[in-house]
């Protein structure tokens, strides 16, 4: 033990213990009702002083059996369940199930519908990242950014409301297109919102990135190398912060992402600061994607000519998309009926959470909160 604080204490007090000498590790229970766990997540920490020796995560408090429920629902009804997986990036979740069923059926949605989907997904990515900046800052005691970020996120949600009719649980994407076309004032509204969001992201960047305390708290904390990250099966910003340029939008382009020109920010150190700053850069990339997609938007159909009840042929399919949290995949086995025979989800939050022990052991309790914050888990997706 080379902890300077601990050695100081040892020097000051010389124990005249009559019984056996030595210290015992303490178990600290964090959660499930802890504000920093972002939901109902429990960690059992074995601590030596303030240093974490072992972490045992407990999940399942939000388990709703969604995968099993999907076997009893029509494909159109499953979309409502996917809204509730990762409940801060609903459009991205809808895109995965919808594109999986389309892949199985061999349906091509009209180009306009695909662009509307991309615009909605990228706006949702920004909304999700804005929530991350705010809650991450709150985990470290910075109260201000979350208020600004929520202000901007509300604007995105108002735009969603004018498009889909709901602020969070949209049920807007359909197998073969989208529910209805956007309103006439959508283009002007979305472009104006892009400018506002750019200012909002810059403001967060200014408030947090240049903050000395913030940099001290995050640099060199929770480091994971690129090889380890790949071994753990991490994806999304957590993987890219470790220097692995893997993004489904580029490596396996779906929808119309191949027509758009955008970069993938990649970190180098793989620490908490990289994971945070990467998301700031990603939000800016998303804004550029939205602007390009808006320029490509042309009037046309928003729904392919298919039957109202999707009935894919017997077979199996795996489709995955880049969510704000990582690579969300869906595996569907169909027996040719109206309902899937089996549906399996590969949730990015759950997979990213696996690296928690590697990241936290050896750090202080206060850092465990920071590390969990940068993993940016959503318990709705971890537990399903």
């Amino acid at each position: 033990m080379t902890d300077p604080v601990a050695t100081q204490i040892e020097d000051k007090f010389t124990y005249q213990a009559s019984s056996e000498p030595g210290t015992v590790d303490m178990m600290v229970n964090m959660g499930p009702q802890h504000p920093a766990t972002h939901g109902v997540f429990r960690m059992e920490l074995r601590v030596d002083g303030e240093q974490i020796q072992d972490v045992v995560p407990h999940i399942g408090y939000l388990h709703r059996g969604s995968e099993k429920l999907c076997e009893h629902e029509l494909y159109s009804q499953i979309i409502t369940l996917f809204d509730r997986f990762d409940y801060v990036s609903n459009f991205n979740n809808e895109l995965v199930i919808v594109s999986a069923v389309e892949k199985l059926m061999g349906v091509e949605p009209p180009p306009r519908a695909e662009l509307i989907r991309i615009i909605m997904c990228e706006f949702n990515r920004i909304a999700s990242h804005l929530l991350f900046y705010g809650t991450f800052a709150i985990d470290m005691g910075a109260i201000t950014p979350v208020l600004y970020n929520f202000r901007d996120r509300e604007k995105i949600q108002s735009l969603f409301e004018s498009v889909s009719g709901a602020r969070m649980m949209h049920n807007y994407f359909r197998v073969g297109g989208v529910k209805e076309d956007v309103k006439d004032d959508f283009t002007s509204r979305a472009l104006a919102l892009c400018d506002e969001l750019e200012r909002g992201v810059d403001e967060t960047d200014k408030l947090l990135t240049e903050n000395e305390i913030f940099v001290e708290r995050t640099t060199g904390i929770g480091v994971i190398s690129g090889e380890d990250a790949l071994d753990w099966g991490l994806s999304g910003p957590v993987l890219r912060a470790s220097g692995v340029p893997y993004d489904v939008r580029v490596d396996e382009p779906y929808s119309r992402y191949s027509e758009l020109d955008f970069g993938i920010p990649v970190g180098s150190a793989g620490d908490c600061w990289d994971r945070f700053y990467l998301r700031i850069l990603e939000a800016r990339e998303s804004l550029s994607i939205i602007r390009q997609a808006m320029a490509l938007l042309e009037p046309g159909d928003t729904m392919a000519q298919i039957r109202r009840i999707a009935r894919p042929p017997a077979g199996e399919v795996y489709a995955h998309c880049e969510n704000p949290r990582g690579d969300l995949g869906v595996y569907i086995v169909s027996d040719g009926g109206e309902r899937p025979y089996r549906l399996k989800v590969r949730p990015p939050s759950f997979c990213n959470l696996q690296a928690l022990k590697d990241l936290t052991v050896g750090h202080y309790i206060a850092d465990a909160v920071v590390i969990l914050g940068t993993l940016d888990i959503v318990l709705g997706e971890v537990d399903r």
Partner: protein, 196 residues
Amino acid sequence: MLSGLKGLGVTLRGALRPKVTTEYPKEHLPIDERFMGFPALTWDSNRVEPYCTGCMVCVRYCPTQCMSAQMKDNDKFVEGDSHRKKIIESFEINLSRCILCGICVDVCNFDAIEMSHEHERSERLRNANRVDLPELLEMGKKYQAEVRWKQSKPSPASPNEKAEIKAVSEAKKASEADSEATNKQSEAPDSGEDAA
């Protein structure tokens, strides 16, 4: 000193910023036209009856099984005032179960159900938030007035209207024939008798 002034500047700018929050119970944010509140049944003011025929398609497609409906024979059809052979007798939605997904509106063939703007409903008991047919229609009427609701396609004619149309068209035909006959009468008097 300088940093203190800077801080004051930030505070001043913050104080002069427009307010972004609304004090919810006192103030309400404007509701978008497409906003999906609780589902409501629409009212056909031409026929003075609901659009809903109780075909149960929404009940079958509801992901949470929050609705139940029952149909009956339409008296107005027998009288000839309506084109609907069947009409809704009772309709109940458990709003505590409803997830506001809008699938019922998508699948409805008669424009009979719409997502209204009603969203502020809370009850003290677990199952108290059930609404029956009169209340659903009341919600629907309010919504229809709010958004100046229009039917997506006109409803077919009722038996009485059909008879009326038939009578009108026959009368028209007859008058045309008459006028033709009178026109022709001046040229050839025989053809007028044939038409009659």
